[in-house]
Amino acid sequence: MSPPSNNLKDIPIYTQAEEAYSVGNIRALLAEIAARLEKLDENGETGMIDLNSLPFSPGEYEQLRQILGQGEVSARIEAIGPSEIIETHYPGVWWVTHYNVEGDIVADMIEIARLPEIIKSQPEDVHAGLERLKAQLNE
């Protein structure tokens, strides 16, 4: 019997990137990322790839993490649960992962842009914040 303080989340999960298990999805995905990055390079056109819908054999997801790696920027958003955004080794290729309050992944995507949409301040929030600041100044 496990000790009472043991939480399911405390049990570590190890997944390792295995060459042997690859079914070739990574190559195809990298090719698509390259194509979209080219568009960004030429005329600033942004793109998004939803990783949720892609089939990954065990280990391929970790392989993708290893290949894309982590670049200079990492950001964390707290909006009804955390979201983690990193720029990969390839500038303009961002990895955006949204979690809910319980820590489950609700969206996972590669965004090709100079800056992911979700990081930018939304116009409506800017307006609402302005009202609050004005109210603060008037006190």
Binding site: I49, E102, A107, D108, M109, I118, E124, A128
Partner: protein
Amino acid sequence: MMDHETLGERLAQQGVSRRAFLKFCTAMASLMALPPGTATAIAEALIKARRPSVIWLSFQECTGCTESLTRSYSPTLESLIFDMISLDYHHTLQAASGTAAEAARETAMKENYGKYLVVVDGSIPIGNPGYGAHGGVSFVDHLQQTVKGAAAIIAVGTCAAFGGIPNAKPNPTGAVSVSDLIKDKPIINISGCPPIPAVITGVLAHYLTFGELPELDELGRPKSFYGQTIHDRCYRRPFYDQGKFAKSFDDEGARNGWCMFELGCKGPTTHNACATTKWNGGTSFPIESGHGCLGCSEPHFWDAGSFYTPLSAPTVNIATIAAGAAVAGAGIAVALGVADRAKKRRAQQAHEKMTVKDL
């Protein structure tokens, strides 16, 4: 009174930032398998929408479907769906009860006639109206009255969609599904026992975004979630294809994660999103946890033979019938054999010896 502010106004009141809502719409787009870039468009559409009135009717159910949708107490992205709708009537979740609750329902129907959504969980007993009633009104009447001005009906769970467990043999209450009773309204069946909560949310989000029901299969289920079988997307499929099957629970094959076809898994004949969307926020699903699929999103799954009989094996006893048939066959053969012998004997006795004179 019903509040009919827009979603944007309501979110602003609750202190939910536009960024948080954009995150929610990104999750919804991913769930509905829409291109990720449409999240912004979804957000714009939903923000301006007046929250539609939803009347939730619960009949012969175990409340598992409601539980499935309302799993946690803290605000979650899934529960934001409740901000997108105006849930005007729900037995378990609403504060009012008795005549006040019924009055709320009737007001919602009147004010939103032709535009409100009806969500149903549980099957409807027609054997005797007394088997289920709210304040003296039978479930059947309740359903038929409430759907009169509905824009669409969402049958949540296998009970509402196909009859479910009350409908299983011998069906003592005469339980039927929503589509057995209502023929003149668009019905979408979100089957499963319970359905995956994300599917319920996804369908509601689709309806709210596009104003129409998603594409349905021949059983009225949304194709985007029920278009493929568990078998088609099962991660243990390579073992099935290689013929590596677990023979019993917890044997070596089972521990190696081999296919559970021989343990009765109904994955090949079951349409649902369990293998991809999974349960509890993508944690696992029955097969990944070591038990074969029960086929809970298919009609009559309770009566489809044992959960542990493989799909290639019969659901009834064949051996006894075969033995009986062998005995019967033998009996007929003996009877006819005796008759034939008697005929032969008679023919021999009647045989007249030929003489030279006959030639």
